[in-house]
């Protein structure tokens, strides 16, 4: 296979391990000690109180808002097609069978 002749995961893993070792080296040069209960362990350096854990966790429903807003029309159309009604599933099936049969017949005539 052409694509596999140029691809070696082992080389990538070795490169990754070297990078991890370098990162670990620089990390180990840092300050190891800190004082608990002081400003060093607070979320905001400015001293502002951090909200409750429930309030500061970003939930799934809040992610990619811009993406969904940009594709609002697409999502409205697609969601409307997903009715959850089994009769509709069978209508889709019948329609696709008909389209496939027509394509097969037309292709046979060309």
């Amino acid at each position: 296979m052409a694509s596999l002749s140029t691809w070696s995961p082992i080389v990538l893993v070795v490169a990754f391990l070297i990078l991890v070792a370098v990162a670990y080296f620089f990390r180990s040069r840092g300050e190891a000690r800190y004082k608990e209960g002081t400003a060093q362990t607070q979320v905001f350096l400015a001293g502002e109180e951090a909200p409750e854990p429930e309030k500061r966790h970003i939930r799934a429903q809040n992610m990619y808002w811009g993406f969904f807003q940009a594709l609002k029309q697409y999502y409205q159309t697609t969601m409307n097609a997903h009715t959850g009604i089994i009769n509709d599933y069978i209508i889709w099936f019948t329609s696709v069978v008909a389209i496939a049969a027509v394509i097969v017949f037309i292709a046979g005539m060309v």
Partner: protein, 521 residues
């Protein structure tokens, strides 16, 4: 040992079938005895498929005739065509058999802890074994009517498993939808088989492939078979049942129901390449498969990224990933009649699609299990109610990362390798299709970033203080798949050369498939 190899194809089906009916009896002795019977039967089936695979890779296609004086006596004396039930197992069939037995074994081990919370364990395992039997039978059969029979076994057991947790309303609904679409699909398959039988008076796939004339009736049968199997594999726009069913199926069985869909994908390939082969208009049919693939990839992933229910998110990704397989195989099919294009990139496209089947079965199976582990511990599938679970479920989180990186096609994971093969080969056919495939991969990564961020990262939430890691059997089930993913990621060439390339060659070699049964007839 030779005798075991000779009978391995039928034993791989018969042993889980026998165990399915022994399970209720073993349950009377105790849960441990029942679990031993189930795990033992599936492990034995896996062993048989492995030795069968080894034999096929060394000696070629394996044919087994039931009820004949000799197992390779496909056509009885004084007959012109095969009349007995025949199993015809080539490198493609056994490739699917390896996936089926591995996922079934991992699913059964994973389910041990889950069943402690449920009643009806004997029925659960009977159904689980019957699902494995349905898949293996469908993959190994060389007969169109038995293809339908095993499709029915697979569908009924799959629907019953999806609806197993009847105390949940959505489980009953998911099971109901699965059985309705399966019944319609199987009925249409039976109708198509009837059309072929009425014309050629045979049911053996090899005999049919030799006789097929590609008449108007054959074209109708082709459209019925391809679309019915496309619905079973949840290709867009016939996919809508899949999120409803996958999201409610109990632990361990979701990957199996998903692999059952992949078995139907195999069925579609068998119909297209081995039954009809070059007699059909490969360019037109290839484009139908490509369009189904592109729609599945794009609609699947865009719907997935919008989900808040982790199992529905996984289900839409399963649909999206099936699109890659359809795309690769569709491109190979489109150029099947053009030897130059087939050698240049068509064969690699088919190999990429086939390699993606096994990769996807592994990482999608693992991801379904991690989603079920979260549901097991938290009691919810809603990502909006999760957070900070890396602290409580470290192993599950690591397994999730492995699966998520693999499905997103991040190097060096196995998903990247099969996608690379698809991108490169499809680019030669149509650069636009390759760009769409890459775009879908990026959105997949975005979707799993969202799922991981929502479930595992963030501050420790007080309501999850008492949440602990899932029991060991569940971790072992996930671990088996994670180890397989790492192995496939590190040694892709070994995997491709050993099991994928022979499967590709077997799929393309229609003459070999016919000749193994028909000989010089």
């Amino acid at each position: 040992m030779d005798s075991l190899v000779t009978h391995s194809s039928i034993l791989a089906i018969a042993i889980p079938l026998l165990a399915a009916f022994l399970t209720p009896l073993a349950s009377k002795v105790g849960d441990r005895a029942r679990n031993t019977v189930v795990i033992g039967a599936l492990a034995l089936a896996e062993f048989l498929v492995i030795i069968l695979a080894r034999d096929i890779y060394l000696n070629g296609l394996h044919v087994y005739t039931l009820g004949a004086a000799a197992t390779d006596l496909t056509i009885p004396e004084h007959y012109m065509v095969p009349v007995r039930i025949i199993l015809e197992v080539d490198a493609m069939s056994v490739f699917m058999g390896l996936i089926t037995t591995t996922i079934s074994l991992a699913g059964a081990i994973y389910s041990i802890s889950f069943l402690k919370q449920e009643t009806g364990g004997d029925r659960f395992y009977t159904l689980l074994l019957l699902l494995a039997v349905g898949m293996l039978g469908l993959e190994f059969t060389g007969d169109m009517f038995n293809f339908f029979v095993f499709l029915e076994i697979l569908s009924i057991s799959g629907a019953a498993l999806a609806a197993f947790r009847t105390r949940f309303g959505d489980a009953t609904e998911g099971g109901f939808k699965y059985i309705v679409i399966s019944a319609v699909g199987a009925l249409v398959v039976l109708f198509a088989v009837g059309i072929l039988y009425a014309q050629y008076n045979v049911l053996s796939m090899a005999a049919l492939a030799q006789a097929i004339q590609y008449t108007a009736l054959d074209k109708i049968a082709l459209a019925l078979l391809v679309v019915a199997l496309a619905m079973k594999l949840a290709s867009v726009p016939l996919h809508m049942w899949a999120p409803d069913t996958y999201s409610v199926a109990p632990a361990g069985t979701t990957p199996m129901i998903y692999v059952a869909s992949q078995a139907c994908l195999y069925g579609m390939f068998r119909v297209l390449f081995s039954l009809y082969g070059v007699s059909l208009d490969t360019l037109a049919i290839g484009w139908i498969v490509i369009v189904l693939g592109v729609l599945s990839m794009f609609v699947g992933v865009t719907m997935a990224v919008h989900q808040s229910d982790i199992k529905r998110l996984m289900a839409y990704h399963a649909i999206s990933q099936s699109g890659y397989m359809l795309l690769g195989i569709g491109v190979g099919l489109a150029v099947l009649a053009d030897p130059q294009a087939l050698a240049s990139y068509g064969r690699e496209a088919i190999s990429g699609g086939i390699f993606h089947i096994i990769n996807n079965a592994l990482y999608k199976g693992l991801l379904f299990l991690t989603a079920e582990a979260l549901f097991f511990s938290l009691g919810t599938r809603d990502l909006n109610k999760m957070g900070g679970m890396f602290r409580n479920m470290r192993y599950t989180a690591i397994f999730f990362i492995v699966g998520a990186l693999a499905i997103s096609g991040v190097p060096p994971f196995n998903g990247f390798t099969s996608k690379l093969m698809i991108y490169e080969s499809v680019y030669n056919f149509s650069p636009v299709l390759a760009v769409i495939a890459m775009l879908v991969s990026i959105v997949t990564l975005a979707s799993f970033t969202k799922a991981f961020q929502s479930a595992f990262t963030g501050p420790a939430l007080p309501q999850h203080d008492n949440i602990r890691e899932v029991p060991k059997p569940m971790l072992i089930g996930m671990g088996i798949l994670a180890i397989a993913i790492v192995f496939f990621s590190l040694f892709p060439s070994l995997v491709v050369n050993t099991i994928v390339t022979p499967a590709t060659d077997a799929l393309i070699d229609q003459a070999g498939y016919i000749g193994a049964v028909m000989g010089g007839a």
